[in-house]
C-alpha cells in the first residue's frame, strides 16, 4: 500500500480554490513547511484554513495571508502577525475562534465518525451563541460539531511508505487529529523509511489515515520564542 509521492506538487494535486484545509502545527512548531510553500506556488485562493494558529508575517500560514489566499481562518489563537491583523480589521479575512480543546476534539470527531459531542468549554461565553446547551451531572455543556477538511496537511518526524507516522516531541500537537479528518491527508516527513522499518508499537498515526506521503526537501523549523537560561 504505497502512499509515497515524489514531491509537494504531486502531494497537493487536486487542491483547488475555495477548499477547506486543515494544517497541523502549534505556532510554528510541527507545521507542514514544504506544503505551505507549494500552496503559495499553486496560488489557490478563497481557502478556509483550520489551524490552531496563523503563522507569523513571513513564515507558516503568514505566507498564504500575504498572498491573500485565505478567506477564512478557524483557529484558537491568532494575530501574531501584522498582515493578519490588517486583513481581519479591514474585513478581508473572516476569523472563527474556537477554544483549543474543542478545536482538537472537533478534528478528532471528524476523523472518528462522531458527528457531535458535548463539552463544558465555552459555556456562558460568546462561543456558545447559537449552540445547544444541555446539563450533564449538574453542569452545563454545549454541543460542538465535528470538523472535516478537503485536504488535511500534516508534518511528521518519521514516516514509512505505508503512511504510518511518528511525531517528535511537541511537534505532534494537532497533526494526528487532523490526519484523521481529511478527505485526503498529505503528510510531509523529515525521514521516509520502508514499510517495516518503524516499530508497529511506536506509530502515532496509522497509515490508514494518510493518502499521500513525501519527504520534505528542507525544514527551516523556525523558533518563535527563543528562551534560554545561562550556563
Amino acid at each position: 500500500m504505497n502512499k509515497v509521492v515524489a514531491n509537494p506538487e504531486e502531494a497537493l494535486k487536486g487542491v483547488e480554490s475555495n477548499m477547506t484545509l486543515m494544517l497541523g502545527g502549534f505556532g510554528l512548531c510541527g507545521i507542514p513547511e514544504n506544503s505551505i510553500t507549494q500552496l503559495v506556488k499553486l496560488g489557490v485562493t478563497g481557502l478556509t484554513c483550520i489551524s490552531n494558529n496563523a503563522g507569523v508575517d513571513d513564515f507558516g500560514l503568514g505566507l498564504l495571508l500575504q498572498g491573500k489566499q485565505i478567506k477564512k481562518m478557524i483557529s484558537s489563537y491568532v494575530g501574531e502577525n501584522d498582515e493578519f491583523e490588517r486583513q481581519m480589521l479591514s474585513g478581508e479575512l473572516d476569523v472563527e475562534l474556537i477554544p483549543q480543546g474543542s478545536l482538537a476534539e472537533r478534528c478528532r470527531a471528524g476523523g472518528a465518525g462522531i458527528p457531535a459531542f458535548y463539552t463544558p468549554a465555552g459555556y456562558g461565553t460568546e462561543v456558545a451563541e447559537g449552540k445547544e446547551v444541555r446539563e450533564f451531572n449538574g453542569k452545563p455543556h454545549i454541543l460542538e460539531k465535528a470538523l472535516h477538511a478537503d485536504f488535511a496537511i500534516v508534518k511528521a518526524w518519521k514516516g514509512d511508505t505505508e503512511g504510518n507516522l511518528i511525531f517528535k516531541a511537541t511537534a505532534r500537537n494537532f497533526n494526528p487529529m487532523m490526519a484523521m479528518a481529511g478527505k485526503i491527508t498529505v503528510a510531509e516527513v523529515e525521514e521516509l523509511v520502508p514499510a517495516g522499518a518503524l516499530d508497529p508499537n511506536e506509530i502515532h498515526t496509522p497509515g490508514i489515515f494518510v493518502q499521500r506521503i513525501f519527504k520534505g526537501l528542507k525544514f527551516e523549523k523556525r523558533i518563535e520564542q527563543r528562551t534560554v537560561r545561562q550556563k
Partner: protein, 220 residues
C-alpha cells in the same frame, strides 16, 4: 508594599501540594515554577502536548520541536511524556490536572472570568483558556488588583466578554489573597504592608472582611 509579579507567583506557589499536576498560563503564572516549595513535587502540563515541562534550555540546546503553550523553547524533565492536543485536553477537560493558574483582565464576585477579548481591540483568541476554566476544579487567578488607571479588576459583574462563568474560586493579586464564594469576595490575606482599607478601596465587587486579616508570609 504591594507585591510585584514575582511576589504574586511566590504566594501562589504556596498553594501547591505534593503530587499535583499543574497547568500554568502565560505571564505571571509561568513564574510560579520558580518558587516550588521544598519537599513538594509537582509536574507541569503544557496544553500543546507535554507533561513534565522543565526549565528553559541552556543556550545552544534549543529544540524547535520542544516548546510550551507560550511557544517558548523548553526542556523536558525525567519521566516526561509527549502527546497530541486531543489527549492534552482530555487531561484538562477530564479533570486530571489538579491546579490551573492563569491571568485575567477581570474577575467577578460570582467567579466569572474575562481574559481573552477587549471589544474594539485586535482579538487574538482564547487559546486553551476556555477549556481550562470550564474544566478545572481548582483555578487560581493571578492578576493585578487594578489596571494601570487604578480601576478595580475585581468586579460585581465582568464588563468584558467572558472566558468562563462561575469557575474562579481563588484570586491572588498584588494586594491580597481572596476566595470567591456565595457571590462575594472573601479577603483571606493582605500583601505585606498593605492595609485592609487599601484592598477594600481597590475592590469594586462585594468584599467580606473578617476581623483578622493576616499578612502573607512569603518567607516560608
Amino acid at each position: 508594599m504591594a507585591l510585584d509579579k514575582n511576589g504574586i507567583a511566590q504566594r501562589i506557589a504556596q498553594e501547591l501540594q505534593d503530587g499535583w499536576y499543574v497547568n500554568l498560563g502565560i505571564g505571571i503564572p509561568t513564574l510560579v515554577a520558580n518558587y516550588i516549595p521544598d519537599g513538594i513535587e509537582v509536574e507541569f502540563q503544557s496544553e500543546n502536548g507535554i507533561l513534565g515541562m522543565g526549565p528553559f534550555p541552556f543556550e545552544g540546546d534549543e529544540d524547535a520541536d520542544l516548546i510550551n503553550a507560550g511557544k517558548q523553547t523548553i526542556t523536558a524533565t525525567k519521566g516526561a511524556v509527549y502527546f497530541d492536543s486531543a489527549t492534552s485536553f482530555a487531561m484538562i477537560r477530564g479533570q486530571h490536572v489538579q491546579l490551573t493558574v492563569l491571568g485575567a483582565m477581570e474577575v467577578s464576585q460570582n467567579g466569572d472570568i474575562a481574559n481573552w477579548k477587549i471589544p474594539g481591540k485586535m482579538v487574538k483568541g482564547m487559546g486553551g483558556a476556555m477549556d481550562l476554566v470550564a474544566s478545572a476544579e481548582n483555578i487560581i487567578v493571578a492578576m493585578m488588583h487594578t489596571n494601570k488607571a487604578g480601576i478595580s479588576k475585581l468586579l460585581k459583574t465582568c464588563t468584558l466578554p467572558l472566558t468562563g462563568v462561575g469557575c474562579v474560586k481563588k484570586v491572588v493579586t498584588n494586594l491580597a489573597v481572596l476566595e470567591i464564594k456565595g457571590n462575594q469576595f472573601h479577603l483571606l490575606e493582605r500583601a505585606p504592608g498593605v492595609t485592609v482599607e487599601e484592598i477594600v478601596a481597590a475592590t469594586e465587587g462585594t468584599i467580606i472582611v473578617p476581623d483578622n486579616v493576616p499578612e502573607m508570609n512569603l518567607e516560608i
